[in-house]
Amino acid sequence: MTSRDRILARIRRAAAGGPEVDIPRDYLRVHGARTPAQTADLLAANLAEYRARVHRADEGGLVPLLARLLAARGSRQVLVPAGLPVRWTADVDATLVPDRQTSTIRELDGVDSVVTGCALAVAETGTIVLDAGPGQGRRRITLIPDHHVCVVRVPDQVVDSVPQALERLDPTRPLTWISGPSATSDIELDRVEGVHGPRALDVILLTAPGAQ
């Protein structure tokens, strides 16, 4: 008898005849009623509470903002995934490094910043979710560089709650949920940003014209 069969047989013996359980789904889909603008404000507030730096821009303002953020950081090498709109980085005064499958980890480690879009953002928890779709690249490019700039389209990429987020995500894609920069509280519970992931997270809420 294989261990698989043995374990399954034990489970059947142990659980047989147990009570059937219905799962109550009367918990809330969203906590509160908000306009799209209020949802964006909540996202901004929750991101900021976990020490992400939040900025707002429209299409026109995005280009100079990105250039300014990267310059302020002194970034000389900026990683850009395939599918990131080319015009976003038009004014960036640094070498743009396209993410290539052949890029080694050491090469990625030599990059200063990375700019990506996202799949969606969750206002109630201050979370951005990446699913490796266009403009997001592979998991590793938002992990190894020390500075991540993430652009969230408002309102269409923003949901209020975790239940709404899961509804919109495809579980077969590689999903990375990010809430603030990397952090640890392991030493006397003092929160320290940046252990292994990026130590700085800039989130740009990109408003569609006339949205706000």
């Binding site: 374990i7 047989a9 579980p171 077969t172 949920w177 509280s185 006397e188």
Partner: protein
Amino acid sequence: MTGTHLGMPAFPEAAREAVRDGVLRANLRHATHTIRDKRARAVAELADWDRLRAAGKAVKDHTLRHLDRYLLQLEAAVTAAGGTVHWAADADEANRIVTGLVLATGEREVVKVKSMATQEIGLNEALEAAGIAAYETDLAELIVQLGHDRPSHILVPAIHRNRAEIRDIFRTEMGRWGRPAPEALGDDPRELAEAARLHLREKFLRAKVAVSGANFMVAETGTMVVLESEGNGRMCLTLPETLISVVGVEKVVPTFRDLEIFLQTLPRSSTAERMNPYTTMWTGLGPSRGADGDGPTAFHLVLLDNGRTDTLADEVGRQALRCIRCSACLNVCPVYERAGGHAYGSVYPGPIGAILSPQLRGTSSEIDASLPYASTLCGACYEVCPVAIDIPEVLLHLRERVAQGGPVTRDGIRVTLRPAHGHTAERAAMRAARLLLDHPGALRAGMRLLARARRLRPRRLPGPGRAWTDTRELPAVPAESFRDWWTRERGNPQ
């Protein structure tokens, strides 16, 4: 759980040692109170907390009732997505499987994401015996590993260490394992974290094999979920070529949608955050089968029993399998606060450890027989538990088993446990009591909490109290706490 507890003193002795250690107690008290207060605020933010808690409990109970079906569904989904599933009946088998998988890669080093399951089976020791070095990458686990120490808390395993101790450990130990700590390393948490970052980055960038656990596995899709804060998890789950995840069979949930419950309740119960900084979800090798360099090119899932199906066979005790390892119950426990995590003699400390370890391992050793007595039965652990495990109820049940014997399932076989000799059970209880009586603060905390509403109403006291209650009526509410019983039996302890 093979061997990990051998030679350890039973709870009462270990606890008496711990309460004498002033530094340890100060560290613990600060930590548990800080997390406890923050948690209450994070939970209060959700108006539907009680409903989320009820739903989480129901999802787990439903899954346990049909665990065979969901595990088979999970296996099919993971396999279809390019992963390989292994089944391990016990710790030895799991260790054998993982060791074999690592050796087959030709590597002699693995990086590890913090995982209770691999601690439970003693995987690091098994790998070491096979000539494989396992590096813990969670900062707290690193502190524990470098300090030749054992974890003392589920969430913050090095909670018993203060910054000066950590600096000393880094200074003396880091160099033996890789990049040494900077010469003038101070004890500022920022500096210490930076030293860990540099030390570990060297390992991440060259690691070819990673070992992890998982917080959840989704049967429907084969998706694995790991929650963490530091990014070491993301590093291990993304960069190596081979990923091996060792996960208890009880961690499966039926649908992707079910995560909407636990992704709300786990972070708030655990770190008191709305959401933990990083969550990674992956399904087998993903749509590209790892071919585009977005994750490992080989994924192995080791499904671990190791006493879980025996626990499932116990109608009262099986609720311990609902546990999502948030650690909220540790932080409110007056006994844990005084005694510290090491006293429990297992990788699962605190109230959950007191009911889980004796079930996973059986109650034949003295420590496991004494664990059900390591409580004031104040009920605070039940109140905070996000999956509503009635820990006091299970404690009473296990006390009864220790004292009275009865039917249990060991290794899948139904056996009848003989009652512990009267004096053995009594001794376990008396020692636990002495610990508490020496430190009335723990008792007072228990008393305060006891006043809150509880649903536990045993008809009579199990264990050593039983002979007494056999001839007397117990007051209905609140249930007799150990302290009440003691007070009545021996007079006022203060």
